[in-house]
């Protein structure tokens, strides 16, 4: 009885303490960031709002890999308006129900939050209204087609919608002369986004989908699925499945068919996390020989913009696990550019206030007569200091935002080389994609 009485008194106190410490007020002291070694209230913070745990846990580190090099270069160039810049992360767990309170907390407790990278497809529809209300610009990598016409002023999407990735795969398959295709996509939101437009476009181009499977991910075997697919005699496999599933699926395909079939993948199949397990499972030479995939086009990895990015990326090993793996990957590159665009817009607006500088985002990226074309933050800062108008191209530009703040994208077709680096072998233009959408 005594113990019970004791608890009666203790519990409200303990729970109150938890509420107070987790709730408002005492919280802004720590920003969760590997880079914020010194907590300083004057730092400007870019938040990566992505899954860091759950089934899509690989998204967060991949996307954040673009923020660190940008912040590093900005700080080397003297920061923005006397402020240093930092990258923070917020975990959405890839679930809308977990993401909403995370978004509210991020906005309420991050002092000097100036820009957001995210959300991903997993949590986009639940959290975009939250960011909208907060009046903070966000560069999303959500793939949903509905955001082609999102009218919210703080929304930006450089990343192409999933459906255009589906179009790009279909166009490339058509150009390679394939008529009978098998579709193998995971039953996961991000993977299912590509399917409908791919099927529509490939059929419209005169091809035939002889087998269409949505596979449950990470199963012990897919032999039955494969045998079923092989019975339909496809010439090519279009796919987006996670690395573990791909390793199992393609190694079993190799065993059952005697050899692989040509594989045309969506852009996640070009990630380093995909290359490792799959190359090990089916042999690197087979992967090089049979696998190609689309990703949004980037200029050849030679220009000054890419060298600047790559140098800063490789110098960020304190913040990024094995940074070299991201050297030729579109996703971190585009996030790097997003951070730079926001930074330059602040300089052009002479304000770090999100609701003020937001209007300058399209201004520092749009082409115009007399604008100085810049490829790095440092060059942009110098030009703005001389009161010039600028057009930022960065690594993945130009960024021609339409009235819905979507930027049309050209695709490239890549395959891996022996070390897992990407080699570009062709392109699908924005015009070719627009032609099928009609």
């Amino acid at each position: 009885m005594n113990a019970t009485h004791h608890m009666r008194f203790l519990v409200p106190v303990v729970s109150l303490a938890i509420l107070v410490t987790t709730g408002p007020g005492l919280s802004s002291g720590y920003a969760r960031s590997p880079s914020s070694r010194v907590a300083s209230s004057s730092r400007l913070v870019f938040e990566t709002f992505e899954p860091y745990s759950g089934p899509d846990a690989a998204f967060g580190p991949l996307i954040q890999a673009g923020c660190f090099p940008a912040a590093r270069l900005m700080n080397q160039a003297g920061g923005i308006g006397g402020h240093q810049v930092a990258c923070n992360s917020t975990d959405t767990k890839g679930d809308p129900a977990d993401a909403v309170p995370a978004a509210r907390r991020m906005i309420a407790t991050t002092s000097n939050l100036v820009g957001i990278i995210g959300p991903s497809s997993d949590e986009s529809t639940a959290t975009i209204p939250v960011f909208q209300q907060a009046h903070v610009p966000f560069f999303t990598n959500a793939g949903q087609a509905i955001f082609r016409q999102d009218s919210s002023p703080y929304f930006y999407r450089i990343y192409p919608p999933d459906d255009s990735a589906g179009y790009a795969m279909a166009v490339w398959g058509h150009q390679k002369g394939y008529k009978r295709a098998a579709a193998v996509f995971g039953n996961d939101p991000s993977e299912q986004g590509t399917v409908p437009t791919f099927l529509k476009a490939f059929t419209k181009l005169g091809g035939k989908i002889v087998s269409n499977q949505s596979v449950a991910l990470d199963h012990p075997s897919y032999r039955s699925e494969i045998e079923r697919m092989l019975q339909a005699k496809p010439q090519v496999i279009f796919t987006e499945i996670d690395p573990q599933t791909a390793a199992t699926f393609f190694s079993e395909l190799q065993q059952l068919n005697g050899s692989l079939l040509p594989i045309i993948g969506a852009d996640p199949t070009l990630l380093p996390t995909w290359f490792g397990p799959v190359a090990k499972a089916i042999g690197t030479s087979n992967l090089i020989k049979y696998h190609t995939a689309e990703q949004p086009a980037t200029p050849a990895s030679t220009g000054v913009a890419w060298h600047t990015y790559n140098g800063a990326l490789r110098a960020s090993s304190a913040d990024i696990r094995n940074p070299a793996q991201y050297s030729s990957n579109y996703t971190p590159e585009v996030e790097y550019d997003s951070v730079n665009i926001m930074g330059l817009a602040m300089l052009a607006a002479k304000s770090t206030k999100p609701s003020v500088y937001n209007a300058y985002i399209t201004r520092v990226t749009a082409p115009s007569r007399g604008a100085v074309v810049v490829r790095t933050f440092k060059a942009g800062k110098a030009a703005l200091a001389h009161h010039k108008r600028i057009q930022y191209l960065g690594v993945t530009g130009p960024f021609l935002f339409n009235r819905y703040h979507n930027a049309p994208v050209r695709f490239e077709i890549d395959h891996f080389d022996k070390k897992g680096n990407l080699v570009t072998i062709g392109h699908v233009t924005a015009a070719e994609i627009a032609a099928i959408i009609k």
Partner: protein, 333 residues
């Protein structure tokens, strides 16, 4: 308080309310009656899906965004009531399958298996409830009628959740302190004794299962109406485990204790780790958070199996003992 902070606090309060309601439903099924309800998240989920499709409108009206099998545009608060009915119905269907013949750990496994089957089927079949992508853009109830600013609406929603919390608490309290509650505890402690004093054990367990299912469904309905989306990723079986942890840590059988458990485990622990000084690569803290919840649960079962706020000991006058073993088994606790 800044408006961003108000948004944050009001969101946390809504979540706290939703989790408390969900934990109470589980407390009725597990804490009070002893059903190891490993499909519990299904009840929350069916409530969320039903509230969503009955707020979204007929499927044809949303064909360009998402696909689902049926739907309507019902006025508030009907979607919540439909959800509650759906949760009760699901319990009424599942109950006879699992509660009748199996040993308790096999009941748990059978329910877990049902939870997994549901996740598989809903994720794979795009036409039923929009597959793995889930439903989104569910309209917020009354938002067009009330004409409030979005911040005022947040507080309105907090008030609504608080009222529903109060109603559920009232219901739960009535059950726990009624003869029905006593009978349910008897079933939990000893089915044999319950049967010996003429109680229909199966019927009693079904009652708790159904009411608990309806309560869970209400919590799901509130959550989906607040955030506007619902997908299979929101109701993986691990979420059931979180609620079990909340009930056990809070004090299985004690409504107030369970409410505290809901504040500490699903709401508190997630929020608390965000304020830790960071260490390790991104994602490490988020994995360790699960480790902490698991360890916390083990520590509680070891050191304080009755939870933070234990179920009240109940003593009965000697005259009650004449009614058989029931009272005796109550006093034994």
């Amino acid at each position: 308080m800044s408006s961003a902070m108000q948004f944050y606090v009001s969101t946390l309060l809504v979540y706290a309310g939703v989790y408390i309601i969900a934990a109470w439903g589980l407390n009725l099924q597990f804490g009070l009656t002893g059903i190891l309800s490993f499909a519990y998240i299904l009840f929350q989920s069916i409530g969320a899906y039903l509230a969503a499709v009955f707020s979204l409108g007929p499927p044809a009206s949303r064909a360009d965004v998402e696909t689902y099998a049926f739907g309507a545009n019902l006025p508030f608060p009907l979607p919540i009531l439909v959800a509650a009915a759906g949760g009760a119905l699901l319990a009424a269907v599942l109950g006879p399958i699992v509660l009748r013949r199996l040993r308790s750990d096999l009941q748990a496994i059978t329910m877990l298996v049902m939870s997994l089957i549901a996740t598989d089927v809903i994720s794979s079949d795009q036409s039923l409830l929009n597959g793995a992508t889930g439903l989104s853009l569910v309209p917020a109830p009354l938002s067009t009628v009330l004409g409030l600013s979005s911040l005022q609406y947040q507080w309105f929603f907090v008030g609504m959740v608080a009222v529903i919390c109060a109603i559920v608490y009232f219901v739960m309290n009535r059950i726990t302190s009624s003869p029905l509650g006593r009978a349910l505890r008897t079933v939990r402690e000893s089915e044999r004794s319950a049967a010996a004093i003429g109680k229909n054990v199966f019927a009693l367990r079904m009652r708790a299962f159904i009411v608990g299912g309806a309560i869970a469904a209400v919590s799901g309905a509130l959550l989906v109406l607040f955030i506007g989306s619902w997908a299979p990723g929101s109701w993986l079986y691990i979420e059931t485990f979180v609620l079990f942890a909340a009930v056990i840590i809070g004090g299985s059988g004690n409504n107030l204790g369970v409410a505290i458990g809901a504040l500490v485990v699903p709401v508190g622990s997630v929020e608390a780790v965000q304020y830790l000084p960071s260490f390790g690569p991104p994602g490490m803290i988020d994995a360790l958070q699960w480790v902490v919840i698991g360890l916390l649960l083990l520590l509680f079962i070891w050191f304080r199996p009755t939870g933070l706020l234990p179920e009240r000991r109940r003593y009965f006058p000697v005259s009650d003992l004449r009614n058989g073993r029931q009272a005796a088994s109550e006093a034994d606790r």
